[in-house]
Structures are given as structure tokens and as C-alpha cells.
């Protein structure tokens, strides 16, 4: 029950509530725990409450890091294999 998921805010409603889209399905959620959320933002939703905003820049940095590691990892593996061959 702890599995919170990213959802996109599609509409801001009255009394700190919003419509959020999770995989094509709309949910009525509470924004009482977050600040400055706009339509189009992604939030982590759990038990019907947005817990935090997703920072798109940080997400992009993490994905870029994966790419780098995997390039470096692949190189290291190739180097090892080359050593073995030699």
C-alpha cells in the first residue's frame, strides 16, 4: 500500500483538490500537502494525496547519469574482454 505513483495534474479544482491522470485514468486527489502545483506538473500520489512534485530537471539528470554509467560500464566490460583475449 506504500506504492505511490507519478501522476500528471490535468485540472485544478476547489478546496486544494485536483484531477490527476495516472496511466490514462483520472483521479480526484488532494493538493493539501504540496505547494505551487500547476496543470501539467507531475506529482507523486499516495492514498489520494500528492506527496511531492517531480522535478523534471532532476529526472533528466538521473537518466543522463544512467546513460553515462552504462557507456562507462560497457567500455569497462569491453576492456576486460580485450585483456582476456590478449
Amino acid at each position: 500500500m506504500c506504492l505511490a505513483i507519478p501522476a500528471k495534474i490535468t485540472e485544478l479544482l476547489e478546496s486544494d483538490r485536483a484531477t490527476a491522470n495516472v496511466g490514462g485514468v483520472n483521479h480526484d486527489i488532494s493538493l493539501s500537502l504540496v505547494e505551487n502545483v500547476a496543470v501539467g506538473d507531475y506529482v507523486i500520489v499516495h492514498v489520494g494525496f500528492a506527496l511531492s512534485k517531480i522535478d523534471p530537471e532532476e529526472a533528466a539528470k538521473t537518466l543522463a547519469l544512467f546513460d553515462e554509467y552504462h557507456a562507462a560500464g560497457a567500455r569497462a566490460i569491453a576492456d576486460k574482454a580485450a585483456e582476456g583475449d590478449a
Binding site: 505511490a4 511531492s52 544512467f66
Partner: protein, 378 residues
Amino acid sequence: MKYIDEFRDSGLAQKLAAAIKNEAQGARPAAQPFRFMEFCGGHTHAIFRFGLPDLLPPEIKMIHGPGCPVCVLPMAKIDAAIQLAQRYPLTLCTYGDMMRVPGGQRLSLLKAKAAGADVRMVLSPHDAVMLAKDNPSREVVFFAIGFETTTPPTAVIVKQAQALGLKNFSVFCNHVLTPPALKWLLEASAEGADGVPPSDGFVGPSHVSAIIGTRPYEIAATAYGKPVVITGFEPLDVLQAILMLVRQVKAGRAVVENEYARAVTAEGNVKAQALMAEVFDLRDTFEWRGLGWIPHSALKLKDAYGAFDAEKRFALEPSTAKENPACQCPAILRGAKSPEECKLFGTVCTPENPIGACMVSSEGGCAACYSYGRRKDE
């Protein structure tokens, strides 16, 4: 889906696993793998769901921790909720998983419901407070459980009930705190107590950290010399965290690192923290399944919100129920045993017929292991 699919790329997962192997290979004698504990049940679920045990090299051993909110609640609390629902003319609302956890005499809230008690599943505590608002002549109790992820929502609805002037709404508060449990584990693992295995580092919770931030984990690094990497619930996040942990251990470093910066900051969700501080007080002590009584590890409603405290509104007799002695949930929650080491796993105990709490919630070690992986008959 954005922020999900990119973190599930299987090709990248293979490469990350290869990078982990590369990093870990030869760093330790074969019989001494790197042992990392994932504290959070969401990670246990992810590890099994995405088959990470098969992807990870033998140099890495994951230990499943006590981070399943349904699992850590002791049987006495489930019995108390059942007692509330059966003894008083009220509607008891709770999260779905809670309804199936066995209490004493193998009763559960679901069975109590079948026998006539008014027990309802809610997806959000907001639904419970709305039910009370729409039915002013009916007492509604919300059976609140969980770590710092579900606690701020409970704080919001208590304040909402107060603002609405509700007289028929209360909360049976069983919220628990992550840092005291982590400290308990660090101590037990340092002393080799209660079968808790030594670990080389921790995979830190995703969404608990979105609320509390990364700072509360620093004690693990500074006082116990254990690295912590906070990470997300997707398979690439988990693999990346393991790689970061191996690198720290190899370099003799122990710091808190944050792989999940897209949702977690150092200070966490300050608004949610303030709400928690406004509505809740620390309990002197609280019992955790598997970990026992831990001081200052759980919350109760502040006196100012006493009118919404189910423990003050309804008299409850303490439960004397004992866990099934064959069920290994307590040891599994301490990381002392794995699900397959339980004699009942996958035979007598299955998700359809759970004997212990760990087989109920999808974040429970036994349910995760059963649903996505290993069964005794395979």
C-alpha cells in the same frame, strides 16, 4: 507512462547489472557478498517484481527489511480494530490490505465484515471523513496505519474534520516512524542481536524520504559507518542505488546519497512535516511486529485533537492473542530470515490464504517473493 517507463528500460537494467558485477567482482572473498538491506517494502516489491535477484551477481545479497506498513503492525492492534468494529455500532474504514491481515483466532477485518460488522475499504482517508460528513448520525472511525507517507494525509483529514465540526468522526492512530526503526536495525545489526544480519549499507525509502528528506538518515553514516542511498521504486533506480552503495563500500566511504532527487530533497516536504507536528505527539513506546517495543517510534493525536481520538472515545480491552508460532514474519521483518525459510511459505500460507501479515500486502516480503518469484513447488 512518463517517469515510469524510462526507469524500466530492460536493456539499461542489464547494463547496470553488468556495471554492478564489474564493480563488485573480486572486491571481496566469494563467501562474503556485499549485503544491503532495503528498508522499504516498496523496494522489496520492486526487487521481486522486476526479477532483480536473477539480474544481480552473486556478489550482491539483498536483505529485506521492516518497511511494509501493514506487516509491522502487531496482531494486538489488528485485534483492537476488530474489537472496535464488532463491539460498537460504528463504521470502521481502513486501507484494503489491512482488511486481510489475520488477527488472533485467525479472524480478520474482512471476516468480521462477513459476520456483519460495518467495515469499509477506503483508497484515501479523505473518503472516510467524507463518509462521516454525509452520515452525521453514524460514528465513523478511520483505522490509520503506515509510515511518514500516510501520516500527513491523516493529519489533513483530522484538521478537516475539525474544520467541518464533525462530532461523529475519529481516528484509531497507529502511525509509525522510520528513523527509530532504522536506528533499531543499525544497533541490532552492529551487535548481531535478534538474528539481524550485519549489513554493508541501506537502500533508503523513496516516498517516506519525500516527506522527511534525506537528513534523518545521516546518523546511519556518521554514528554507524553505514552508507545509505535513497532511491526510487523503479528497477533502474534500485540497480543504480546498489551500484552507488558498492562504490561507497569499496572506497571506504559512508555517506547519505540521493538517487531520487526528482522527488526527494534534503529537507523533505516541510509543509507535511509542519502538519504532522501540529496534529501528532510522539508515543512513549510502541510495539512493532518483529522489532518489539521501540521508544518514541509512533504517533498519537495531540490532546488538542482528543475529540477525534478513537482510543479516547472507545474503551478497548488489550488483546492477548499470540502469533502462529510457525509463522516467521517477525524474523523476516528483522531481516533475520528470508520467506523461503518459513515452513508454511507457499504451501499452507499463500496470498489467497495468508497466515501472517507478510503474505498480505504486496510489499510484504512473503507476498512479493511468492507473487513474482520463488515457490517451493517450482
